[in-house]
């Protein structure tokens, strides 16, 4: 028994250590001397970083709350035209990363942009630019991030509404509440844990955003971190800024965790899970509901897709010049390697928890899944800091060649950091699969003479095939969209659709960014549709 525990401990320990690297590195920056830049920064832009990050956060939280809860409410309780379509169509917003959304906003609304072109073609020459609203800067970033992230609130709230007992609705009726009062006093509060969990996720991702804020020129903590590292060559400064960001994030992380646990207990067991009788809307109400959902769908998905499609069509040379196959191959490469390690280790960790029931193991497990909360850019920069530190110390000790090239600008380094970021997804995916296997099944297998390994191989793995598949798909979607880590750590001449789009956009070739953006959205949409049934059931 002793040997077997050691194995689980070691692998869980390793994973936790890996995840802990960025956190420790970031905190370690407090012990390093501060450069001059920090002082300049403090005088001038640090306040800006903080206030921009804060305004961004508040704006996004507000919008995602309204859109997410609103849509979830409508599709969960009512029947109106195309409601079944909207149920899954609204999830497609996940296919559009915020930075691509940002490009679409610019392309559409800028002076002499697509809106101008449309108006020009429809109504002839005119001074339209003055009347076209420009969604850029902080406002643009808020919009871009909101519409790409509201899906989290939507999905979680919808799940909560879905599992709410019919009793709640009837209770409202019995008390003579109007629909509005029912909503605010009964339905909304009961979904509170789910909503909070969704908003916490949104908040973490918002603070983590790099692509859209850097594109819009909004100075936030993430852009500050990036500049400190790449322009000022000041890793200490970069990590110091990271630590400020991490403090924000830790608070949110705790909040999200607590809420998610509460959300599980909120599924009411009384009255069981009777299918709700949905209320059919008539007349103008039905029309309003339709318009609301359609508008959100339009803005969050149709709009960026159409904009990108439009540009791909009128500037076809960029599509021709794009090595689509190679980009696709690169992405698939990353996905396969990452998924492979992620799933294996997620299995090992989950199995270890199942078999060992040790408290320490569970703590390690919690640490190892916290990587998802750390913004990608912090992960990447901290990782580089750590490797550089190791490199200079190891070189001193062992007089080996530089190890940096193994980890920085290599697929290995990239996969390692992906691992830290996405381990939670793999772990939770396998975990929820495992949760469906009653532990007595394991015991039954042991008592038929099955060794632990045989039980794992013949009982667990086949049963978890679906979970493995699902995790792979979700990982694919995330890796396709991932930007900051890939940007910083990728091997040279190794591009993904995301990095290609970003590079074009940041080099004043926005119309060239359209083709890779479009392809990214299409691939992501495809995978999202495959898993939509699972996402919705959750």
């Amino acid at each position: 028994m002793g040997n077997k525990i050691n194995f689980w401990f070691i692998s869980s320990l390793l994973i936790s250590a890996l995840v802990a690297i960025p956190i420790i590195t970031v905190l370690g920056s407090f012990f390093e001397p501060i450069s001059d830049y920090y002082n300049i920064l403090k005088k001038t832009f640090l306040i800006d970083y903080l206030t921009n990050s804060l305004f961004l956060l508040i704006g996004v939280l507000f919008i995602t709350f309204v859109i997410g809860v609103g849509c979830a409410y409508l599709v969960s309780f009512y029947i109106f035209p195309a409601v079944n379509f909207f149920k899954w169509a609204l999830i497609l917003s996940f296919a559009v990363p915020a930075y691509i959304y940002a490009y679409s906003l610019t392309a559409f609304f800028e002076n002499y942009g697509t809106v101008f072109a449309i108006l020009n073609n429809l109504f002839g020459e005119g001074n339209y630019n003055a009347y076209i609203p420009k969604f850029d800067g902080l406002l643009g970033a808020i919009i871009a991030i909101s519409f790409s992230l509201f899906g989290y609130v939507y999905v979680l709230t919808r799940a909560s509404f879905h599992y709410q007992s019919q009793n709640l609705v009837e209770l409202g009726k019995n008390l003579g509440f109007s629909k509005k009062r029912s909503f605010f006093n009964i339905i909304l509060p009961s979904a509170r844990p789910a909503i909070v969990a969704g908003l916490s996720l949104v908040a973490m991702e918002t603070l983590s955003d790099f692509g859209s804020v850097s594109y819009f020129g909004v100075s936030t903590l993430t852009t500050g971190i990036y500049s400190a590292w790449i322009s000022f060559d000041d890793l200490t400064l970069a990590n110091r800024l990271s630590s400020y960001l991490l403090i924000f994030i830790i608070g949110l992380f705790i909040l999200e965790n607590l809420s998610r646990k509460k959300a599980q207990f909120h599924t009411s067991s009384k009255g069981g899970h009777r299918t709700k009788t949905l209320i059919k809307l008539n007349g103008y109400k039905s029309f309003l509901a339709f318009i609301f959902c359609f508008t959100i769908f339009l803005i969050s998905f149709l709009f960026p897709v159409t904009q990108m499609l439009y540009w791909t069509i009128i500037f076809p040379q960029h599509l021709e010049n794009l090595d689509v196959f190679k980009l696709f191959l690169n992405t698939i490469n990353l996905v396969i390697i990452s998924s492979f390690f992620l799933i294996i280790l997620a299995f090992i960790s989950n199995y270890g928890n199942r078999v060992s029931k040790s408290k320490l193991l569970q703590i390690l497990n919690t640490i190892s899944i916290s990587g998802y909360a750390i913004p990608g850019i912090i992960l990447a920069v901290a990782f580089i800091t750590f490797i550089s530190w190791m490199d200079s110390n190891i070189i001193n000790y062992f007089e080996m060649g530089s190890i940096k090239s193994f980890f920085i600008g290599s697929t290995l380094g990239l996969v390692l950091v992906y691992f830290i970021r996405f381990y939670s997804l793999a772990n939770n995916g396998i975990k929820s699969g495992y949760a469906k296997i009653n532990y007595s099944i394991d015991e039954g297998a042991y008592l038929l003479g099955y060794s632990k390994f045989k039980t794992f191989k013949n009982i667990h793995v086949p049963y978890l095939k679906n979970s493995i598949f699902l995790v792979s798909i979700l990982l694919t979607i995330e890796i396709i969209k991932e930007l900051p880590i890939t940007l910083i750590l990728r091997p040279f001449n190794f591009e993904t659709f995301a990095t290609k789009a970003y590079l074009f956009a940041s080099q004043d070739l926005l119309e060239a960014a359209a083709a890779p953006s479009l392809i990214l959205i299409i691939i992501a949409s495809f995978f999202i549709l495959i898993t939509s049934r699972y996402i919705l059931k959750e």
Binding site: T44, N129, A130, N493, L503, D508
Partner: protein
């Protein structure tokens, strides 16, 4: 004999380039066709490329680092990562103030003003200089991109070179005061802003204007470009601020000879013509006519050949400091 020998080895040259033109790739192909040397291009943003070269140090496989803006080149040179990139051919073709020992310019561009003829009079333009833009008469009428952009930093660096830190600091504060909006967008967005009526004068590089007029950015931007006119400032003193694209051979370049060959190739008339026809820049060597659209902007303007473009690098951190202190976003 050497070409036979070099044909025996993996004959290649590794170029790290932050220029993002498709036409460059086609040009490199021509080079390969002519010389048999394969050109491996690794493209990216400047900071990333530089960081990579620095990190890899002596393990770096980079032969040539090509970038825009003298500020970039010189600061990088000061980090000691270039080696002597000269050859007799290079020295003959490129004027001395457009090269250093370890780097050479390949093309030129100017950073000029674009104004709305509807709102800016001939009088306003009379002897207009960069320095004049701090004048309060331009309040709310100027657009320029953010301070983190290297082109702006080099412009300010050149002003420091010519006018000193203190003057330039005052100037920067004046310009910030005159901005019609907080800096956002790229150079083209500044031109578009003037066309749209959001400002009267934009500061941008010459090639962007030509690019818009060419229709490569769509019909609407061509339309917009027609609404503004270019103006070359400082004609009555030192001349218009010039900048360059260029590169240098890296210290630990594995294929130095091939790198020199490539540089020399890029300085041939044929290559220069190819380059500037596609990118709307000016040729660095004599005897090559720029693109029609550039010609239309006026070729007989006085270029600032006095300012040492190496100063763009030397004064860069001062320039940045001045801009930050002026709250230039």
């Amino acid at each position: 004999m050497t070409s036979l020998l070099s044909a025996c080895f993996a004959n290649e040259v590794n170029v790290f380039s932050s220029r993002h033109y498709e036409s460059d790739i086609k040009l490199y192909k021509k080079f390969t066709d002519q010389t048999g040397i394969k050109v491996n291009v690794i493209s990216g943003k400047d900071e990333a490329l530089q960081k990579r070269i620095l990190e890899e140090g002596k393990y770096s496989k980079a032969d040539l680092y090509i970038t825009s803006d003298a500020g970039n080149i010189v600061t990088f040179d000061n980090k000691g990562m270039f080696q002597n990139s000269m050859s007799p051919i290079v020295e003959k073709l490129v004027p001395s103030n457009f090269r250093g020992n370890n780097w050479v310019s390949i093309t030129k561009r100017a950073r000029i003003l674009f104004y709305s003829p509807d709102r800016v009079t001939r009088d306003d333009l009379n002897n207009l200089s960069y320095e004049d833009l701090a004048n309060s008469k331009w309040q709310g009428r100027i657009v320029i991109r953010q301070s983190n952009n290297i082109y702006n930093q080099s412009l300010v660096a050149s002003l420091i070179f010519n006018n000193g830190k203190e003057e330039t600091s005052k100037w920067a504060k004046g310009v910030v005061n005159n901005m019609s909006r907080a800096p956002k967008g790229n150079d083209r967005a500044q031109i578009l802003a003037v066309a749209a009526g959001e400002a009267d004068i934009a500061i941008a590089n010459t090639y962007y204007y030509a690019l818009m007029l060419s229709g490569n950015k769509g019909a609407e931007q061509k339309l917009a470009a027609k609404k503004v006119l270019p103006f070359f400032p400082n004609q009555n003193n030192r001349g218009t601020h010039m900048n360059i694209s260029g590169g240098g051979i890296l210290k630990y370049a594995p294929n130095k000879d091939n790198a020199i060959k490539l540089i020399e190739f890029l300085l041939t008339k044929e290559a220069q013509q190819h380059l500037i026809n596609n990118t709307f820049e000016y040729s660095i060597i004599d005897g090559v006519e720029p693109h029609e659209l550039i010609k239309n902007m006026g070729l007989d303007f006085k270029q600032d050949l006095e300012t040492d473009i190496a100063s763009y690098g030397k004064n860069q951190s001062d320039a940045l400091e001045i801009m930050l202190n002026a709250k230039w976003k």
